[in-house]
Each structure stands twice: as C-alpha cells, then as structure tokens.
C-alpha cells in the first residue's frame, strides 16, 4: 500500500501563484532588458548627438577640418576657432604610450613572479593589495603627480632618470648576491618572498642614487641636466610632461594589467609547466617556452584592457600633463588628451554648437575605442578559457 498523497492545494491558490510567478518574471525581464538597453544606449546617444555635425547644413563641418593640427575652440573673443582633433588624439595616444611603456614591464613582471614563484598564501595577500592600488582615485594620483612629483622631478631630473637604470641593476645585483650567499641565509631569503625582501634594498638604492646623483650630474652634465639637454639636443623641458603622466598613469594601470595577466598565467594547466620541469627545464625556461606561449592571448588581452584604461583616464592626465595641445614626440613636453579636453571645455560649450558636438565626437571616439578594445580582449579571453579546458581534458 502506498501512503496517501498530501492534499493538493486548491486550484484557485495554484492559479494565483502561477500568475504571480508570470508577473514577477515579466517584471524581472522588463527591468533587466531595460537596464541593459539603457546602458547600451550610451553609444547610440553619442552617435545621434554627433551626427548633425556631418549631416545638417547649418552646423556642419567638413572632414578636412578635423585633420588640422590646431585645436582652438575660440573661447577667447576675436579668436578664429580651429577644430583640428589631431593634436588631441595625438596627446591621448602619447600619454597612453608612456603609461604603458612604464606599466607593461612592471605589471607583467609582477604577474610572472606571483604566478610562478610566490607561495600561494603570499599571493592571496598580494592580489587584494594590488586591487587596492587600483582603487586609488585618479584625482589623488593626479594631484600627487602634478603638484608633488612634477616639481620634484623638475629639480632632480638626473636623479629621477638615474633611478630607471639603478633599480633594475639593483634587482640583478641582488640576484647575483643571492647565489653567493651562505646556504643558511639563502633558506631564510627564499626567492618566492623576493617581492617583499627586495623592497628595503630597492628603497635603500633609490635613496643612495638620489643622494649621489647631484655629484654625477655635476661631473657629466655641467651640473644641470635640463640645461645640458636643451643645449645638446634642443629639448625643452615642461614641468608637467609625458614622463610624469606616464609614471602616474602607469601606476594606475599596473594593477589592472597585473590581475588579468596573472589570471591568464595561473589558468594554464599546471601539467604543462610541470612536464617541462620534469624534463629538466628551470622554472624560468618552462615559463618562457611553455607557459607564456600558452597564456599569450590572455596576457595580450590584459595589455589591451590596460591600454583602454590609459586612453580614457581623465583626472591624471588633466592634472599632470599641462594640457598644452602640442604635437611633439618629446617625452619632456606636455600634451592635451581628449578626455581632459572634454572635462575642461564641455561645461562651457554651447549646447548644440559645433564645439559642443565636436566634444561629443571625442567622447564617441573614446567610447568606441575602449568598447572595441575591451570586447576584443574579452573574446580572446573566452577563447583562451576554452583552450585551457581542452588542454586540461587532454592531459
């Protein structure tokens, strides 16, 4: 005998539950689709605002106008406006270039070290630390770069440039010294913890080199590197320049690149690296020949996302670049980026005017660029994840 079934709920209650479920599902769907549509509407809206620039007769502007090398929005009375977007695009790319030049080696180095050498416990502490570094507000980084770092570097240019040589040399020196240490000490200073115990050593080196650099500057460059650069190469020095922007924005971009690159490296199936090491490769050899090629798309997408961030960063460039719309290659001169131009000029632009629409065009360009770059990076990462899964299944 089977037990009697529990009594079925009354049909009316059942019906109202169904209805409630339908309604709620509908609500969620409507809300979700609405939010998604609203968020995606940004691009469409920007394009609609820009379109009259090229279509409508009264506010139109030829394509040729955009490619001129002057950006003079005519805010001063009696000034003929010139709307060449070229210097702005140049400034944006220049800032991003120097930032990436500084950030990529550091971020990838850090990712490699933490993925390959660090003990897992230390790594699980390092990741949130760098995440907090990423959370540093741009306005704070920009303030420190523009008002503290820039004047300081202007006074100690030789010392600052010397750091770029001294610090890598110091890392290598530490490595050489480590192999010659007595074994007992070497067991204390494990290479996996080098990220921490190198810190005081590098700080010491930096202090030393800053302390000694005036002497060297006196011997090599007649006491003033800036003068020497100007006389020898004709390089002008602007206090807020591409180097400062690169340093500050690099600082802001490092954690993002690090996190994604580290994900890509740790995602490589461990069996690959272990196989290489079992065949006698060192950890570095297995990284270089096996792990890195496998993770290359992920590392590439990390760099792309870093580039997207660097192109769109506003406050750091605004505060640290001097905002001069120049088109020079020199890292010692300033630039004006699109994002900074929007932030400065849009509140004053007349809605619907040519200037206003051009600033919208700049915003659209930024949007399109970052959106494309990020989508590309995301697709690459998705493919990579599938590849890892296959690799893991195969071994």
């Amino acid at each position: 005998m089977t037990e009697p079934l529990p009594p079925r709920p009354e049909p009316r209650r059942q019906w109202s539950r169904r209805l409630r479920d339908r309604l709620a599902t509908l609500l969620i769907t409507a809300g979700g689709l609405g939010v998604v549509a609203a968020v995606l509407a940004i691009g469409v809206f920007l394009a609609l605002e820009v379109a009259p620039l090229f279509l409508a007769a009264e506010a139109s502007l030829g394509w040729g106008e955009l490619w001129r090398e002057y950006w003079q929005p005519g805010t001063l009375p009696g000034e003929t406006p010139a709307y060449g977007m070229l210097p702005l695009a140049w400034g944006t790319l220049k800032a991003a270039f120097w930032a990436l030049l500084f950030a990529i080696p550091l971020a990838l180095g850090a990712a490699i070290h933490s993925a390959l050498y660090m003990p897992p416990r230390l790594r699980s502490r390092l990741k949130p630390t760098l995440e907090m570094m990423e959370a540093m507000p741009g306005v704070v980084v920009g303030f420190v770069a523009g008002l503290v770092l820039a004047p300081w570097v202007e006074r100690h240019l030789a010392g600052a440039l010397a750091l770029a040589l001294v610090l890598p040399a110091g890392m290598l020196l530490a490595g050489m010294a480590w192999t010659r240490l007595p074994p007992g000490l070497r067991r204390r200073l494990l290479p996996g913890w080098a990220g921490l115990w190198l810190m005081p050593w590098l700080a010491l080196l930096a202090t030393l080199s800053l302390w000694l650099s005036p002497v060297l500057e006196g011997l090599l460059f007649n006491g003033d590197l800036r003068h020497w650069l100007a006389a020898r190469f004709g390089l002008d020095y602007a206090s807020r320049n591409a180097l400062i922007v690169g340093l500050a924005m690099g600082f802001a971009v490092i954690p993002g690149i690090y996190a994604l690159a580290e994900d890509a490296l740790t995602g490589v199936p461990a069996s690959l690296g272990e196989g290489a090491q079992a065949l006698g490769a060192t950890r570095w050899q297995s990284l270089w020949k096996v792990v890195l090629p496998a993770a290359a798309p992920g590392v590439f997408s990390a760099v792309m996302i870093g580039a997207g961030r660097a192109v769109g960063e506003t406050m750091i460039v605004l505060m640290a670049s001097g905002n001069t719309a120049l088109m020079t290659l020199s890292p010692l001169e300033g630039m004006r980026s699109m994002a900074a131009t929007i932030a400065i000029e849009l509140p004053e632009a007349v809605p619907g005017g040519v200037h206003y629409r051009l600033l919208f065009l700049a915003a659209l360009a930024l949007f399109a660029f970052t959106f494309l770059v990020n989508t590309l990076a995301e697709l690459v990462r998705a493919r990579l994840r599938r590849r890892y899964r296959r690799l893991e299944a195969a071994t």
């Binding site: 539950r17 479920d21 709620a24 599902t25 969620i28 769907t29 979700g32 939010v35 998604v36 940004i42 920007l46 550091l106 971020a107 850090a110 490699i112 070290h113 390959l116 050498y117 949130p128 630390t129 995440e131 907090m132 959370a135 540093m136 507000p137 306005v139 704070v140 303030f143 420190v144 523009g146 890598p168 890392m171 290598l172 192999t179 074994p183 067991r187 290479p191 080098a194 810190m199 005036p214 006491g223 950890r283 570095w284 270089w288 960063e313 506003t314 406050m315 605004l318 505060m319 994002a339 929007i342 849009l346 809605p351 919208f360 949007f367 970052t370 770059v373 989508t375 995301e378 697709l379």
Partner: protein, 514 residues
C-alpha cells in the same frame, strides 16, 4: 662539501626572475610610498609645528615654521623655506633663507601663532589685550586671550545657529509672501545677531612681530591662538586631535585654502547614498535577468560581454552622456514643464545632485551586475532544482532560496560600486559639483532634500584647491589631508568588499567561469 649544500637549494635561474621579483617589490614600494606620503603630509599638517626664531647674518629676524630645505642650483649650499605668515605686514607668507646666512636659530617659548579669518596666520608676540575694562599685559594677557577665545567660540556658534536655523528660513518664507508677524520675528532675530556681534567686538590685541613691527588686531577676527614652543607633547596631541576634528566638521574658509571639508564630506556621502539607492535594485534586477531568466544563448552571452565592457568605458564618457541626456535633455524638459517661470535661469537644466547620482549609478551599474551574476553563478544548480522539484514557482525559488544565498555577493557589488563612485571626479565636473557650496543640500525646508542643488565633493575639492587656488603652496597641506581622507574612505570600502568576497569564497568555493 659546500657544492652539495648548494645543490639542494633552489637553483639560480639567471637574471630574469630577479627582474620579475623586483617589479613586484617596485610596485609595492610605489604604492606604500604614496600612502605614506599622504598619511605623513595629511596628518602632519594638524600637528602644532615648532616656531623658529631665525636671526640672519644681516641682522634680519624672522619667525617661521620650516617647510622644506633644498639644494641651491650649482651646488652652492642649501636654502630653507620658512612659513613666516603675517601677510598683512610682509605681503607674503613665505621666506626662502640660505642656510649659510643663518646666524642663530632659537625656539623662544613666548612666540604666538594666531589663526585669523583675515590675512591668514600671524607669527609673533602678544604684548597686550585691551578692552573696555582695561588693558592686561604679559602672561596675564595670554591667559585673558585664551578665556576670551573660548567665549568668542560660543558666541560664534550661537550666531551661526541663529543665522542658519532662524534667519535664512524666515527670509525664504518672506520671499514667498510678506507677513507682518514673520517680519517682526526676523527683525528680532537680526537684532539678536547684532547684539552678539557687538559682544564679540570691542577687544583688541596688541601684537608685535619678531622684528619689532606692531599691529593692532581686533579679537573677533582671531579663531585660535597657541604657543607651539611652550606646548608639552600631550597638549600638542590634544591640539592635533582638535585640528583633525575641526577639519572634518567645519566648512572651508578663505577661498577653500583654509578651514575644513564638512560640506564636501556631506555632499560626497549624500551623492553616493542616492546613487546606491538607484543602482542596487536595477543592478540586481539586471543580474537576475541575465543569469536566471534569460535564455542562455549567443545573444545573452554577447550582452554579458557588452555589460562587462561598459565597466571599462572611461568615466568621462558617462559624464558626457549624463550632461546630454539628464541635464540638457530631461532636466531641460522638466524646466519647461514645471519651472517655466524661472527660465532662463535653469532649475533642473543644470548640473545637480540628482543628475550626478544618476550618472554615477549608470557608471557603476556594470559593477553591481557583474557581482550579482558571480554570486548567482556560485549557487549550485541542485539548490534551484531541489526547490523547483518541491513545487516552488520560479519566483519563489529565487526569493526564498537563491537570493538569500547571493545577498553577500550583491552587498560586495554595491560596496565596490560605492568605492568606485566616491573616487570618481571627471563625470562630476560635467554634471554637478560646485566649487563652493557651504549650504549642504539638506535642510528643514520642504522638500528637505534639494535634488537640484549643486554640491561639494571631496575629489573635486582636491582638484579645485590644488589647481585653481591662488597660493598652491599654502593650500597644499589641506589638499593632502583631503586626499588622505578620500583614500581612507575608499580603502576601507574596498577592504570590506575584499573580506566579504573572501568569506564567500571560503563558503561556496570559487565560481566556474562561463
């Protein structure tokens, strides 16, 4: 022997691993350096620094606080920057002094620092205090000054209270329609303020700078007085705490270069609160839709990628969108419909609290969506299937089983969104911060919360004071303090989110990626 010993250790692997390790060290060094710089400069500003009396070899005397020391160009010795204050006497508040030219440096205990509402600080000596009752000199004058400053502070507080709580609302009500009773009330309040003002005035300080120039200073312009060289360490610590408190609780003075940041703190918090009220339901709804309701096909995958990518779109683009859609579009229309009598001066058609919160809500929406989705993906499918098998409808399954398990993940998302929004400045420059808005956008006047008002923001305050002030050097300590405050808030928020997430991972394991 030693060769065998070495062989058992990890092998050396050439130079590259050391460069990799070094880049970790360098990144951490830069980060901690930045934090240290902000902490030292930001907190050090409130410490009552000793005041040096410097006698130069050419006979000049000056009293100042050492700011920094630098090498002279060409290696010819060093020079020191002193903050000498006394703008009304000297026309400047800074003095560069070559270290070689200093004949003697001492720290006399009777040197006084006065913080004033006009002309900045004063460094020098207090000779006498004069009022209607008479004149006191020497140490007694110092005692009297301390007492009078305490009274003044109470009077000022009463005056501010009267002005904000009584006079301003009365004036607003009178603007709407004249009323004899109200006018009488206003007259009484104004008379009371004048009476307070009269009690504040009347006392003068006789001051002398260290090089012997005398100055009469009305006491009502003096905010604080202290003798840094005569203070003991606990007294200094108390003064430091008091300084920090005043920084947090007072409004800015002297074109934002002095005073506190209370309106900016209030504005930031209010804006972020409004933003999270908007972003939480919509973000969660979209997350649930994408993960639980939508058909998991190619389209949903593309939408998911697009939403994720919007987190990487520059914040300034959101600002442009907010300006075009919210401010000029919706705001302009609202003005035409409801506030047509006030046009052409815009009410909602200009940047304001509401538009700023909405823009930042849009900006942080992807953060909340992604966090919610991650949380939902972490809930094992058998929980859902179990609920459905027991006869729950989908909504019952979601609200009773899945969402309670996801709540911490959503909270993490909201906290991260708040942290991101608190530090974002670029979009706010377009949609609604004000350089100076000492009136916070909440008061006793209907509708209590003034969504159309402009507001102050900590991040924008940093940018504005640092780049649009007259004397950057003078404003710098305050900028450091503000930056430190902002960074602390954001770091605490992020730490909370990190701990929550860690806790979640420990409970539910890592999430499989799709």
């Amino acid at each position: 022997m030693s060769r065998f010993g070495r062989a058992r250790l990890p092998r050396g692997e050439g130079p590259w691993p050391w460069l990799a390790a070094g880049s970790v060290a360098l990144s951490l060094l830069m980060f901690s350096g930045l934090l240290l710089l902000l902490a030292v400069r930001g907190l050090g500003h409130f410490w009552p620094a000793p005041l040096s009396l410097v006698a130069l070899e050419d006979g000049r005397l000056l009293a100042g606080q050492v700011v920094r020391e630098e090498r002279l160009p060409g290696g010819a010795g060093r020079e020191r920057l002193y903050l000498t204050a006394n703008r009304d006497l000297d026309g400047a508040i800074w003095s560069w002094v070559a270290v070689d030219e200093i004949a003697e440096e001492s720290h006399p205990r009777d040197l006084v620092v006065l913080e004033r509402t006009r002309w900045g600080s004063f460094h020098g000596r207090l000779l006498a205090l004069e009022d209607a009752a008479g004149r006191v000199e020497g140490e007694a004058a110092w005692q009297a000054l301390q007492e009078r400053l305490g009274e003044l502070e109470a009077l000022r507080r009463e005056r501010a209270h009267l002005r904000d709580r009584v006079v301003v609302p009365l004036v607003r009500r009178l603007e709407r329609g004249a009323d004899a009773a109200l006018a009488a009330e206003l007259g009484a309040a104004n008379a009371r303020i004048r009476q307070l003002q009269a009690r504040m005035g009347g006392t003068r300080l006789l001051l002398e700078s260290v090089d012997g120039r005398r100055l009469e200073q009305p006491l009502e312009q003096v905010l604080r007085a202290w003798r840094p060289n005569a203070m003991s360490a606990p007294r200094k610590l108390a003064a430091w705490g008091h300084g920090v408190w005043r920084f947090l609780s007072e409004g800015p003075r002297a074109a934002n270069t002095a005073g506190g940041v209370w309106p900016a703190i209030f504005g930031t918090v209010l804006m972020v609160l409004l933003m999270s009220v908007v972003v939480t339901p919509f973000g969660v709804l979209a997350g649930i839709y994408l993960n639980e309701v939508a058909h998991q096909g190619r389209f949903t995958r593309l939408v998911r990628i697009a939403v994720r990518n919007l987190a990487g779109v520059p914040s300034i683009v959101y600002g442009v969108f907010g300006l075009g859609v919210f401010v000029y579009g919706i705001g302009g229309t609202l003005d035409e419909w409801f506030f047509a009598d006030q046009l052409p001066s815009p009410t909602f058609g200009t940047g304001g609290l509401l538009w700023a919160s909405l823009t930042l809500a849009l900006l942080t929406l992807p953060v909340v969506i992604v966090a919610t989705e991650e949380g939902l993906a972490r809930v094992p499918d058998h929980q859902r299937e179990g609920a459905l098998a027991l006869g729950a409808t989908r909504v019952e399954m979601l609200t009773r089983v899945v969402l309670p398990m996801t709540a911490p993940a959503m909270l993490t998302g909201v906290i991260l969104a708040v942290a991101r929004a608190a530090g974002e400045v670029a979009p706010l420059m377009l949609v609604g911060v004000a350089k100076l808005a000492p009136q916070v956008p909440v008061d006793g006047e209907f509708p209590f919360l003034h969504l159309e008002q402009k507001f102050m923001h900590l991040g924008y305050h940093i940018y504005d004071v640092a780049f649009h002030g007259g004397d950057v050097e003078a404003a710098l300590p305050l900028v450091y303090a503000t930056a430190l405050l902002l960074v602390l808030v954001i770091l605490v928020l992020n730490l909370t989110a990190i701990f929550l997430r860690h806790h979640l991972r420990a409970r539910h394991g890592t999430v499989p990626r799709r």
